[in-house]
């Protein structure tokens, strides 16, 4: 604890958050909207990093968990109209269940097979949504009657507050004793067990935590946008964005994932004048980062102490 209070990084982080909180005073609604979405994506990526970077499980379909949370909340709101936080909680619960469902094959399969299961999960969810279009609005999507707020500034603060809270929780978890055990479990299962840790238990927990944050963030995103559709929360390309943001920012840093997401979404927006090519440029940059800086932007800085 003491070392934390003395570290300059903490004060930089606090300063950044304060500046971010003050942005609505200067920026217009459009940019605030972009940042709002970026902050929710930040949570998606941090949740992914916890699972990959710490528990060592590659989830190629994070949108399975995000989508479960989002659509559960949306359907509940449409059908029964309970308050938003109830819908969000329901979304979280269903997402956690989804996390458990994914955890089971993860423990039995390895290598490309588990990655495939996660991809297939997304495809199945996607198809399920299209089939049950009566409830889900199918490929077109659905709207939700409630939203968090109509004011861009308020929405922005909800998102920022949510991001900061999740960042503290997830980062704290990653640095805690439990985080250390997760890292060991992900890096070297046999060694972790030989040291007395029930790796299965910890991995399932990691899946559930990742699912919890993904589901809540997914639901909150819906109540920000007012709509839910396959293209915005389920499509594989969304999942790819989440993964790339985490890799760009630096695996196993948690905070890097959030930064990566913000960077990615801002960059895509910034390049919008290029039309469709903005995705091309962003993907090309991401590819270059993978090839030349596999530790990611933040990872490169943070890993300096580990190298000779």
């Amino acid at each position: 604890m003491k070392s934390l209070l003395r570290s300059p990084a903490l004060y930089i982080a606090i300063a950044v958050v304060i500046v971010a909180a003050l942005l609505p005073l200067w920026l217009d609604g459009y940019i605030l909207g972009i940042l709002t979405v970026a902050y929710y994506f930040g949570v998606f990526s941090m949740a992914w990093d916890l699972l990959f970077g710490f528990a060592g499980e590659v989830n190629f379909g994070p949108t399975f968990l995000i989508g479960l949370g989002a659509y559960t909340a949306a359907i509940l709101d449409n059908q029964f109209g309970p308050p938003i936080f109830v819908c969000v909680l329901a979304g979280a619960a269903v997402a956690v269940l989804g996390g458990l469902v994914l955890a089971v094959p993860a423990l039995r399969l390895s290598g490309p097979y588990f990655g495939l299961v996660t991809l297939v999960a997304v495809l199945l969810l996607q198809n399920a949504i299209v089939i049950f279009a009566h409830w889900t609005g199918g490929e077109i999507g659905m709207t939700v009657p409630d939203v968090l707020s109509i004011d861009a500034g308020e929405n922005y603060w909800y998102a920022l507050g949510f991001l900061v809270m999740c960042a503290i929780l997830l980062f704290g978890l990653s640095r805690s004793a439990v985080g250390l055990i997760l890292q060991a479990s992900g890096q070297d299962r046999i060694e972790a067990q030989a040291l007395g840790f029930n790796v299965t238990k910890h991995k399932i927990a990691a899946f559930c935590i990742s699912a919890l944050f993904s589901g809540v963030a997914g639901a909150m995103l819906i109540f920000y946008m007012g709509t839910a559709s396959v293209d915005t929360v389920i499509d594989i390309s969304i999942g790819v964005q989440v993964i790339i943001a985490a890799v760009l920012g630096g695996r196993r840093t948690i905070l890097g994932a959030a930064l990566g997401s913000i960077f990615l979404i801002l960059a895509t927006e910034f390049l919008r004048p290029l039309g469709q090519l903005n995705t091309f440029v962003v993907s090309a940059v991401a590819l270059a980062v993978i090839l030349f800086f596999p530790d990611g932007l933040l990872g490169y800085v943070l890993r300096a102490g580990e190298r000779e």
Binding site: V178, L180, Q187
Partner: protein, 489 residues
């Protein structure tokens, strides 16, 4: 022996499909005692250790820790019950410091306890101090020398004060002075009243340290007793040495004046931090048969892999005037230096004939047919099995196929790495005869790497002894029989 039994294993058996890796092994680990579990590769000793730790499920028999039956327990439960293990290969968490690695070993298996107890830090430092890591507690594993990584593994294993400590290959990769320091550390564990199990290839290297020895071969116990008793045991000597030693009747030729075909100069190889070869120099003359003798883990395979261009090395290897570092691995084989590796590396799903055919791809069609018929004559069993998948052949047949396939390349120099590993004596005879015939009928140069001295000696013109990554002896085979024969083990 009045000391209480900490770990008792009874009729332990482990089957992998049709292969029986461990057969009815029974032994006891007592408090305040170091037991050496010795055996060559494939003897089952590492498997026994893994079974004790719960890393692999048992096929039969029981394991008791104190009064508790732990046979079915998963390894994390066994660990918490008081067993610590030091694996052969260090397994640090690279992103954490040494101190954090040790702290991990002290943490409870809890999902909820986010913060470690206050005394964890103190205890971790104490343990680091005990194993000699105080100076480097805040460094990351990738910055540490090899020996310190091994110390860290020891620290993790004893962190929770286990009653039983299992150590796999305690001295592999260490210098002599480091070996002494580690021996003291292990003796310390024993003197604290723990039961210690050391698993190793070589009785000699742990003789000074162990109180008792349990020798294994092909999954079974072959001898038990003090280190001296086991080293003198007839079965053990046969298994390790292959029986009586008879030197060949050939002498080192006066052809020592000719420039050597293969010249190895000051070659060193590191696997990460571990030194597998330490400035090894040797040479092989045209038409010679040189045996490189050494136990498992001495460095023979590493040496051959350096020659074949499969591992990076420092130093120089010269073959027929050509500096091998300029060629790719495939190029070296094409150049005439062909290895028949320890693992045989056959194409299991392809037939015997297809395997041989692939070996002969660099020859003309005519030459290939000649070579094939020559080899099928030398190894008639392969002619019988020519359309069978290589995977379905017995161990001895696979070895012959591997050698024949290497010979299909019409090599100038053939390296044979441990061809006798796991083979029955009858097959060894056949193999020996085939090698003799080879020497008689062709001008080929052969380098044979073997642990089985009885097999290696009769064919050899000269012998090198490789021990702990260094060449410790060289000379002709008759001198070897005189000087090294009895003391070799």
């Amino acid at each position: 022996m009045n000391a209480p039994v900490r770990l008792r294993v009874e009729n332990l058996t482990k089957r992998y499909g049709g292969l029986i890796a461990v057969k009815n092994v029974s032994l006891e680990l007592r408090a305040g005692e170091i037991l050496g579990l010795i055996g060559p590769n494939g003897s089952g000793k590492s498997t026994v250790m893994k079974l004790m730790m719960g890393i692999e499920p048992v096929s039969g028999g029981t394991i008791k820790l104190g009064d508790a039956d732990v046979t079915q327990w998963p390894s994390h439960r066994v660990a918490r019950a008081g067993v610590g293990i030091v694996f052969q290969h260090s397994r640090p968490l690279h992103r954490q410091t040494v101190l954090e690695n040790i702290k991990l070993a002290l943490l409870p298996d809890s999902l909820i306890r986010l913060f470690a107890d206050r005394d964890v830090d103190t205890r971790a430092r104490a343990i680091a101090d005990r194993v000699g890591l105080s100076a480097v507690v805040n460094r990351h594993p990738s910055t540490l020398p090899f020996a310190d990584l091994r110390r860290m593994e020891m620290a993790k294993a004893i962190a929770r004060d286990p009653q039983v400590v299992l150590v796999d290959e305690p001295f592999a990769g260490l210098t002599l002075s480091e070996v002494a320091a580690f021996s003291d550390l292990i003796r310390g564990f024993r003197d604290e009243g723990r039961a210690v199990l050391l698993v190793d290839h070589n009785v000699k290297s742990v003789a000074a340290l162990v109180d008792r020895v349990f020798a294994m071969y092909l999954g079974e116990r072959i001898a038990e007793g003090t280190a001296d008793e086991v080293m003198q045991d007839a079965t053990v000597r046969r298994v390790y040495l292959g029986g009586e030693i008879a030197a060949s009747h050939k002498r080192a030729e006066a052809g020592a004046h000719k420039p050597p075909l293969l010249k190895v100069e000051d070659v060193s190889v590191f696997y990460g931090k571990a030194q597998a070869l330490d400035t090894v120099s040797l040479n092989v003359g045209q038409g010679e048969f040189v045996s490189i003798v050494g136990l498992n883990g001495a460095g023979k395979t590493t040496l051959f892999n350096a020659m074949s261009g499969l591992v990076p090395y420092s130093g120089k290897i010269d073959f027929g005037g050509q500096d091998l570092s300029r060629l790719t691995a495939g190029g070296i084989a094409r150049h005439g230096l062909v290895q028949c590796p320890e693992g045989r590396e056959l194409f299991g799903d392809l037939s015997v004939e297809e395997n041989l055919d692939l070996g002969g791809q660099h020859l003309t069609a005519v030459r290939r047919r000649e070579q094939l018929s020559w080899l099928l004559e030398m190894f008639p069993i392969l002619r019988e099995r020519r359309t069978q998948a290589a995977r379905t052949l017995s161990g001895g047949e696979q070895q012959m196929l591997a050698i024949a396939r290497a010979l299909m390349m019409d090599p100038k120099l053939l390296i044979l790495d441990e061809p006798t590993l796991g083979l029955a004596p009858v097959i060894l005879e056949q193999l020996g005869r085939a090698l003799e015939k080879l020497r008689e009928t062709s001008p080929i140069t052969v380098v044979l790497g073997e642990q089985n001295v009885t097999f290696a000696l009769p064919h050899a013109d000269r012998v090198y002894v490789l021990e702990h990554a260094r060449i410790v002896w060289e000379g002709d085979s008759q001198r070897f029989a005189r000087e090294m024969g009895t003391g070799y083990l």
